[in-house]
């Protein structure tokens, strides 16, 4: 038993931290927030150069073939830097769905390009009903002329406006078990009838879109995996993406704790640094407890999904439930302990606070995942 990181993983962590401190400064993040793209070709090329876009894809598809735990280390550092741009949607959503469900030809066509930073694919899953279960999938895919026609609306789709293609989750059969009849389609962004609108979001570092599909015709080979069998691979992708998101949230929460601790050491009130007062000190200690627990349960979940352990689904839900609450509370406490300066646009705290809020409601919030845990422990 070894519940720690390897030397290589620690090296990846320190390399990533140095890289983001230099390349993903507060100034860069704020500039990207204000642009529709949320990233620059130069920054994206640097991520590719580091090998991070293809970190988890097998070498035959142009990736580095590393494991999920390695990716979790990288996500923590990206969260620490509140990194903007389509990394999460490209690697964890689009890329891993193709890897999980795609044919060899589809993988060969897309994954090397994703790894090299030459293409981006996102996942169009959720809809205005904001459900995380199979019943939420109502976009219809009807067979027509040897292919399919897709109609309906997808919402909260990350980075669709700058993607080259979208994996669209659609229903090819209705009635009976809602999990049956869910299919995945790889749809080029340029397909006629596909309309993408960028939405104004609280967290400006993460771009979300509405995607309208107005009788979008796709050929039969746009199917990713088997017709009607898309829910299972999607579930595996989402389980991993959920844990990766937790890791990103941990990184952000740790950074908020670090900023707050440093501030409490230098900010003087009533003749003493505020960190000497127990009202502040104890709150900081509470933050540390939550950050450490959040990491522990995330690392455990990362191991469980990487190993496809029998308890993987439960572990992922435990992590998302705990980390959603913890990162919200820690980032709010960070603002509180900074006082007025923490409430300004100028200070970086709001970037972390808003990222935590967005992540809290991505892939289900704490309440949703606690109920899943309740089911999975046979309550």
């Amino acid at each position: 038993m070894d519940f720690g990181f390897s030397e290589e993983q620690e090296l990846l962590r320190s390399t990533a931290r140095k890289f983001f401190e230099k390349e993903c400064t507060s100034e860069f993040v704020r500039k990207m927030m204000a642009t529709p793209e949320g990233t620059t070709p130069e920054f994206w090329a640097k991520l590719a150069e580091q090998g991070w876009l293809g970190l988890i894809f097998p070498e035959v598809y142009g990736g580095a073939g590393l494991g999920f735990v390695d990716l979790v280390v990288l996500m923590e550092e990206m969260g620490r830097a509140v990194m903007p741009g389509p990394y999460f949607s490209t690697v964890h959503l689009g890329g891993l769905t193709i890897l999980e469900a795609g044919s060899d030809a589809q993988k060969k066509r897309w994954l090397p390009k994703l790894s090299a930073g030459e293409a981006r694919v996102t996942l169009a899953w959720t809809e205005p009903n904001a459900r995380w279960d199979a019943q939420g999938v109502t976009v219809a895919a009807t067979e027509a002329g040897g292919g399919f026609t897709l109609s309906g609306t997808k919402l909260f789709v990350p980075d669709a406006h700058i993607a080259d293609a979208l994996v669209v989750v659609a229903r090819t059969a209705a009635g009976g078990n809602p999990q049956e009849g869910v299919s995945l389609f790889l749809v080029p962004k340029t397909a006629p009838g596909l309309e993408v609108t960028l939405l104004p979001t609280m967290d400006q570092t993460r771009k979300l879109c509405e995607v309208k599909l107005g009788r979008v015709a796709v050929p039969a080979d746009a199917l990713l995996g088997e017709k009607g069998k898309g829910w299972q691979p999607l579930t595996r992708v989402v389980e991993r993406a959920t844990v990766a998101l937790c890791a990103e949230m941990c990184g952000g929460a740790q950074r908020v704790l670090d900023m707050t601790t440093e501030y409490a050491k230098i900010r003087v009130a009533f003749g003493k640094p505020i960190g000497a007062y127990q009202g502040v000190k104890h709150k900081a200690a509470d933050m540390l407890v939550e950050v450490e627990n959040a990491k522990s349960i995330t690392y455990y979940a990362a191991w469980a999904v990487d190993e496809s352990a029998p308890e993987a689904a439960r572990a992922a839900s435990m992590a998302k439930a705990y980390v959603s609450d913890a990162s919200r509370r820690v980032s709010a406490a960070g603002i509180q302990l900074h006082g007025g300066i923490g409430f300004t646009w100028e200070h970086d705290l709001h970037l972390y606070f808003k990222r935590a809020k967005g992540s809290e409601f991505t892939f289900g919030d704490a309440t949703y995942h606690r109920e899943r845990v309740a089911q999975l422990i046979n309550l």
């Binding site: 038993m1 070894d2 519940f3 720690g4 990181f5 390897s6 993983q9 735990v69 704790l257 601790t261 409490a264 050491k265 003493k272 640094p273 960190g275 000497a276 007062y277 127990q278 502040v280 000190k281 104890h282 900081a284 200690a285 509470d286 540390l288 407890v289 450490e292 627990n293 959040a294 990491k295 522990s296 349960i297 690392y299 455990y300 990362a302 191991w303 190993e307 435990m318 439930a321 705990y322 309440t367 606690r370 109920e371 845990v373 309740a374 422990i377 309550l379």
Partner: protein, 398 residues
């Protein structure tokens, strides 16, 4: 990162599991309590016998060196043992202060003679230990302790008083902190003694606590003569030695308690399955499902935070921030668990042992009351937060 066990560890787990299957007192819960980990007076005899059994089977003091009665194994085996005992709902260890604190401290600081003399009898439960730290005017501010030890020839003469001393009424030995140099700064004039509780001049007066039990005590010292060979770790070095004890308490003993939360949690879920509220089972109530699931999650968090700390120890590294959060996390989770246990019972949580109407014999009421001490004993939550704030986060002292 790999949470799987090696073949050797697996066979150790199987050995523990098989032994527990064959030897565990099945009626323990019914006879004593459903969920508490704190030995109750009515269970002392049973628990003494249980520890002896564990000792004969070699399942106690796993990480202690062989020459001092242990098995020389690692914390991984210790973790496996705790986890298996929790799953089997095995009774706790009576000499928990000896096994969790006195033994490791003696092994760390003792002379060869002391190391051969005390630890084996701690493990076998032949000698029970208590901890003489707190005084009426020295609790959270422990270094303010006033019990005096004055040198007289080869001995020290001890006068003063300790309080809240768990198990003192059955203990044979005490880890005693006493002031040997009243002129030195308060942390520097303290010495750690191994005190024979049967010496003339030692008086133990039980205190009744909110549970109604007499589980902790006042201990008075009236000219108690202790030979200098009973000093541990050097004269006036008691603060460092005493802090080592506390580190073991929070790490090893704390980790066992965290794993054992699972026993109480399983018990709570079993009760929730049986109890109805408003005509429906508690486990079908959406709010109660949320709260039970949260406790499950918090219990798992504690377990893995402990596992991270232990991994660092095994790699020869200093425990990181994760090690210091365990006690606080355990306290918070356990107290919420006990609160929820009363809520599940509703109005029945008012009934104590002695009526057929009491749920599960009223045992949860006892463990609920007992849990209030958790955030006070072994360092209050407020002191823990100061320690985390100052030593882990580096915040200035108040």
């Amino acid at each position: 990162m790999d949470l799987t066990l090696t073949p050797e560890q697996q066979s150790f787990r199987d050995e523990v599991r098989a032994w527990l299957e064959a030897n565990m007192p099945r009626d323990f819960a019914a006879r004593v309590m459903a969920s508490s980990d704190i030995p109750r007076p009515e269970a002392y005899d049973l628990l003494r016998e249980w520890q002896k059994q564990l000792h004969r089977a070699g399942f106690i003091g796993l990480t202690w060196p062989k020459e001092y009665g242990g098995r020389g194994l690692t914390f991984v085996e210790e973790m496996i043992l705790h986890a298996e005992m929790a799953l089997a709902k095995a009774p706790p260890v009576l000499n928990i202060l000896g096994v969790g604190m006195a033994g490791p401290t003696i092994i760390a600081y003792g002379t060869e003679e002391q190391k051969r003399r005390y630890p084996p009898k701690i493990l076998s439960c032949e000698e029970i230990w208590c901890q003489g730290y707190s005084e009426p005017n020295a609790g959270s501010d422990l270094a303010a302790l006033q019990t005096r030890a004055v040198r007289d020839g080869e001995s020290y003469v001890i006068n003063g008083q300790k309080v809240w001393t768990s198990l003192a009424h059955v203990a044979d030995w005490m880890m005693l902190l006493a002031r040997t140099d009243p002129d030195a700064p308060k942390h520097k004039g303290i010495t750690y003694f191994l005190l024979d509780m049967h010496l003339p001049g030692v008086t133990v007066k039980p205190l009744r606590q909110i549970t109604g039990d007499e589980e902790f005590n006042e201990v008075f010292f009236d000219n108690v003569r202790v030979h200098e060979s009973h000093v541990l770790g050097g004269v006036n070095n008691g603060w460092a030695v005493g802090m080592t004890t506390l580190m073991y308490e929070r790490l090893a003993l704390g980790f066992g308690l965290q794993v054992r939360l699972r026993i109480a949690l399983d018990g709570l879920i079993e009760m929730a399955r049986r109890v109805e509220k408003g005509g429906a089972r508690i486990t079908k109530d959406p709010v109660m499902r949320q709260r039970i699931a949260q406790l499950w999650i918090d219990t798992e968090c504690l377990k893995y935070t402990g596992a991270r700390a232990i991994t660092r120890l095994l790699k020869g590294e200093m425990p990181g921030p994760e090690a210091s959060t365990g006690k606080m996390g355990w306290v918070d989770t356990h107290q919420r668990l006990q609160e929820l246990a009363t809520e599940i019972q509703g109005p029945y949580s008012q009934l104590m042992k002695g009526t057929q109407w009491a749920v599960e014999g009223g045992l949860w009421q006892y463990t609920f009351l007992r849990s209030r001490a958790n955030s006070i004993e072994g360092g209050t939550t407020e002191i823990q937060k100061n320690i985390i704030g100052e030593r882990v986060l580096g915040l200035p002292k108040g």
